[in-house]
Structure formats: structure tokens, C-alpha cells
């Protein structure tokens, strides 16, 4: 049974359409990440689910009950905010228990629930403190505890890790994943960080300009992005996008003499001279051994060792490509080298429609 259904949700602020018709269905226990740059409408969608904003059109159903017009407190949701939104005048204990206090849960029961949540989050020793006496990571745990203690149908997270420093962010990411695996809760999580999305989600909705560009599992988003936008948004370093066109059944990379064979379906469907964008993930490139094909030559310009990998910047004709190689690769800047790729590592997009072919 689906825990959350979003049906044709639209939102208009003045003359601006922030959401242009969103359809989503979330099974119980799923971890859905809304991924996109700022201004894509992901936070608006989250606020609409929470009841902090009302949709201009469409329906939101939680546990198969329409919640449009229902007060946030009656929606059976809990929310974790980017700024943590802890009540500064209350102790950690009261912060966590406030939702229960407002719902008139008896004090003893409340204390028990707070204790359990604090134990799960390892903040039992902080219960007496005020938020101002906590570090960023501790505040975040308290904010999560406040949501946890309510045991709602759906958890909503609004960029919860973006105020933390890089190391803490990684720790909390793992912590969130652990919590989700342990509790099996249904989560909608907003972020602009593709690593967070890839690591946490059971499904990702990549959003752009108030629409869902692609809704799929992290693996599918990574391996089969359906549009150029999704291809460029997910992956680090981001995917190489080479302008090319179809000539004699193969792809010829613009401003170079490099040709790359196309899969039969693509070349059969393609028009002669059709403009393409060839997407190649940096990590699917490798140094070619003698006679290996498909392969192409490139001028190596910069070699950077990041530790686990060697990042190469090179040019093919006028176009720039990046390759992530093994750190032990024997390669120097200023040389000309051949790079090989597997045929199935090629993502082919139509340049005009920006859609996958």
C-alpha cells in the first residue's frame, strides 16, 4: 500500500509556476530523495506535503487520505528543518517531547518516548542542555529526535545536512541510513547534493523547473539517465558531454576526426547528420591497450592525484574531457594518449530534445 501519493500537484506564486504538475507514489518504508538545484521546486513540494503551503491544484494523499487543507499537525508527518529549528528556550528533552506535549501525551509516557529516541540517537547525556550549548551535529540529532519520537507515517527532511561541515555531513549521512534501515520509516528527503541522494535514496526524483525530470532508483539514475540534465547532475566528476553528429552510421565527434561506433538501434533510428551529445562518465574511461577499440586519442593537459583516483583533463579536438583513472596509471601532462571505453558505457542523447536515444 502506498504511504504517500502526490497527484498532479501544481503550485503558483503570483505569475510563477513553481510546480507544474507533480505525480509521485511512495510505498511504505521507501526513502525518496527530491534532488535538484535551488529554485527547482523541491522544497515547495516538501512544504506542500507538510501542509506549510497549500497546492494550487492536485491532491496529496497520506495513507490514502487526502490531506489538502488539513492542518500540519493532523497529517501524521514529522519534519526536520535545514536550520534544525530547535526551540532555543527549551531543554533538549522538552524540545524532543514538545510534539507529544502538544498532543497531550501523559508526562511519564512522554519521558519514556524521549528517552528511547535519545538512546537511538546517542544523545542521552544532552537532555538537560539548551540548544545553544550543542554543536551543529548534536543539534541535528535533537532535530531528528523530535521527529522520531512522534513515530509518524512520513518523515520529511529539508536539506538536513547542508549546515554541517563535510566530515560531520558524511557521519550524519551514514547515521540517517542506519536509522532508516533500523526503523523502516517512510522518508521524503530534499537535497541538492547528489552524493546524499545516491547514498540514501531507494528512489530519486530529479527535479528541474517545477517538474520531475526522472524518477528512478539511484543505480538507474546513474546508469541510464533519461535526459542530458539528469546525466549532468548526477556523478562526480560530472559526465563528459561531447558534441557529435551521425555520419555513415557512426558518431563523429565535432571538430575532430574521432569516430565512435554507435549501437545498431541508434544508428538505425538516427537521421544522417543528426546532432548528438555523447555522454561518457569519467570513470568509464581507461587507457587503451594496443589495438583496443573503440578508443580515441586525446591531448592530456592536466593530471591531478586526488588520492583514490587520478583525474585527467584532456582535449579531443576543441572539446574538453575528464577521465578518472587508477592512481597507479602511467600518464603525464603534455602527452597524447589513447583512451578506451566499453560500448555500453556510452550514453547517447539527441542534442535538440536533450533526451536519451
Amino acid at each position: 500500500m502506498s504511504a504517500l501519493d502526490i497527484i498532479g500537484v501544481r503550485k503558483r506564486y503570483g505569475t510563477v509556476d513553481t510546480l507544474k504538475g507533480i505525480d509521485l507514489s511512495l510505498d511504505s518504508g521507501e526513502f525518496l530523495v527530491l534532488l535538484g538545484p535551488s529554485g527547482c521546486g523541491k522544497s515547495t513540494l516538501l512544504n506542500i506535503i507538510a501542509g506549510l503551503a497549500e497546492p494550487t491544484g492536485g491532491d496529496v494523499r497520506i495513507d490514502d487520505r487526502s490531506v489538502v487543507g488539513v492542518h500540519p499537525k493532523d497529517r501524521d508527518i514529522a519534519m526536520v528543518f535545514q536550520s534544525y529549528a530547535l526551540y532555543p528556550n527549551m531543554s533538549v528533552e522538552r524540545n524532543i517531547g514538545f510534539g507529544l506535549e502538544m498532543r497531550k501525551v501523559p508526562a511519564a509516557e512522554r519521558a519514556e518516548a524521549v528517552k528511547t529516541a535519545a538512546k537511538i540517537l546517542q544523545i542521552e547525556n544532552l537532555l538537560e542542555r539548551r540548544p545553544s550549548e550543542l554543536s551543529g551535529g548534536q543539534r541535528q540529532r535533537v532535530a531528528i529526535g523530535r521527529a522520531l519520537v512522534r513515530n509518524p507515517q512520513v518523515f520529511l527532511f529539508d536539506e538536513p545536512l547542508s549546515n554541517l561541515d563535510a566530515k560531520l555531513r558524511m557521519e550524519m549521512r551514514t547515521e540517517l541510513k542506519r536509522l532508516h534501515q533500523m526503523l523502516g520509516t517512510t522518508v521524503v528527503y530534499v537535497t541538492h547534493d547528489q552524493i546524499e541522494a545516491m547514498t540514501l535514496a531507494t528512489r530519486i526524483a530529479v527535479m528541474r523547473n517545477g517538474q520531475i525530470e526522472q524518477l528512478a532508483t539511484p543505480a538507474e539514475i546513474y546508469e541510464r539517465p533519461t535526459t542530458l540534465y539528469v546525466a549532468g547532475f548526477v556523478g562526480s566528476p560530472s559526465m563528459n558531454m561531447l558534441d557529435a553528429h551521425i555520419a555513415d552510421g557512426v558518431a563523429r565527434i565535432d571538430s575532430s576526426d574521432v569516430v565512435i561506433p554507435l549501437p545498431y538501434e541508434t544508428s538505425a533510428k538516427g537521421r544522417p547528420d543528426q546532432k548528438l551529445v555523447l555522454g561518457i562518465r569519467p570513470e568509464s574511461l581507461r587507457l587503451a591497450s594496443d589495438g583496443e577499440a573503440p578508443a580515441f586519442e586525446a591531448n592530456v593537459e592536466v593530471v591531478e592525484l586526488t588520492g583514490p583516483e587520478l583525474v585527467i583533463s584532456a582535449t579531443v579536438g576543441q572539446q574538453r574531457i575528464t577521465a578518472s583513472l587508477s592512481p597507479k596509471s602511467d600518464i603525464q601532462a603534455g602527452t597524447r594518449r589513447r583512451f578506451a571505453l566499453d560500448a555500453d558505457a556510452l550514453h547517447i542523447f539527441d542534442k535538440e530534445t536533450e533526451k536519451r536515444l
Partner: protein
Amino acid sequence: MSSSWINTRAWLLMLPLLIVMVAVIGWPLIDTVRLSFTDAKLVGTSGNFVGFDNYLKMLSNSGFQRAFLTTTWFAVISVTAEMVVGVAAALLLNQQFYGRTVLRALMILPWALPTVVNATLWRLIYNPEYGALNAALTQIGLLDAYRSWLGEPGTALAALILADTWKNFPLVALIALAALQAVPRDITSAAMVDGAGAWSRFRFVILPYLAGPLMVALVLRTIEAFKVFDIIWVMTRGGPANSTRTLSILVYQEAFSFQRAGSGASLALMVTLMVTVLAAIYATVIRKTAGAN
């Protein structure tokens, strides 16, 4: 540069101001203290030294005791009303609605008007023959016949308190509004999701943000209300039957109407002392609240 020269230069730079302050505040204050121990008249004799006579007479004088009670009553009721109405107005003006900016600007008007203008307006409203209050109350049937609101000892002080509240609530509202705008949106959203109704959100989440700034408003308004003179002088001159005679009015009458400079001075110093005590209490409270946060 040596530190002694920096010190000297600092004093030199402050010297003109110090001279002015001593001339217009220091000297008159000292002379008032001297006067309060004499039986000096405003004109004529420079008076004889009478020791604590003025103070002792004053404390046992029923006029003084009554003025003290009137002042306290005026200050407590009007400041309380200003705080409540001011915060309510701020909460209202913090909502999103069409015409909010215009309303915010309009709200400041009573406070921005000179007290004399404000007091004159209220005298017109309270006028026993053609006042708007009488007209309104009789028309909606709450009143049988026109009354002289400022002419009856039973209603004059209440009428003054209403006028003073009207004039001064915008200051409280302005301070509260500024504080409200500092309440993070996420916090009130979180409280909504947590299930807090409007009253709980105000009581548990918003009010703690307002406490500090409101304390400042409370201090300012209490001290001012305790010293109140102008609005009463314009509207009732302390009457009828001394029912609105506050300490400041009493000081004025004693020193200038009855021309008893000596006892007027002792009265004025008493008021100063009371206000100083109030200010000291508040300063302590504010330091404690600031420390608690």
C-alpha cells in the same frame, strides 16, 4: 603616544559637554537639593534652613499619599494595557495581508503626534455636549444620557488612561513587531508540525523571543508613565477634585501655583528617587534575563 596624553586628550574632548552638563543638570540638581531643605518661596525670600521639615510634612500629607496612589494606578493600568494591546497589534501586523504596510505606518500615528495634539483630540472625543464617545455610546444604546467623562471624579482617571494607552501602545507594538520579525520562520513551522495551536505557539515559541525587547519597552513606559505630566495637564489639570492629580502635577502645583519652591523641590526629589529605584529594579531584572538566555 603615551597613555597619559591619550587620557588627557579624552578629557579635553569631553570637557565642553561636561561644562554644559554641569551647568544645565548638575548645578540645578544640587540647588534643588539645597532648596528642599529650606522654606523658600518662588519669588521673594531665599528661605531659611528647615532641615527635613519639607520631607516629613510631605510624607504625612494626604494629598501626597493620594497623588502617589493615583500615579501608581495610572502607571500600572496604562502600561499593562499598552503591553497587551501593543503585542496584539504587533502579532496582527506581522501577518501577511493586503494593505499591511499602510496599516503599519498608520499605527505609528498616535505615538508620532505631539502629546498636546493627542490630548486635545481626546478632550474633543470626551466632550460632554458634542463628544464622539457620548454620541457613539448613546447611539448603540449603552448610555441613556451624555456624560462628562473628564468632569466626574469616577471616570476622569480611566478616561486619561485610555487616552494615554492609545497614544503609547504604538511604541510597544513597534518594538514587539521588530522582535517578531526576528523569529525564524522554521521555528514557527516546526511548532505547527509539532501540533502547537496558535496560543501554544505564541506562549511557548514566540513569547520567549519577545521577552527581552518587551522588557525594555516595559522599563521605558513605566518610567515615563510614572513621570506623566503633559497629557493630564492638557486634559484635566489634575481635576476634578484632584482625582487625576499625579505626583508631577502635584510638584508643579506646589512649586509654581502655590509658589512654595522649598517643598516643591523636596517633592520633585522624591519623584526622582522613586523613578531611580524603578530603573534600578528593571536594570537588575534585565541583566538577569539576559544572563538566563
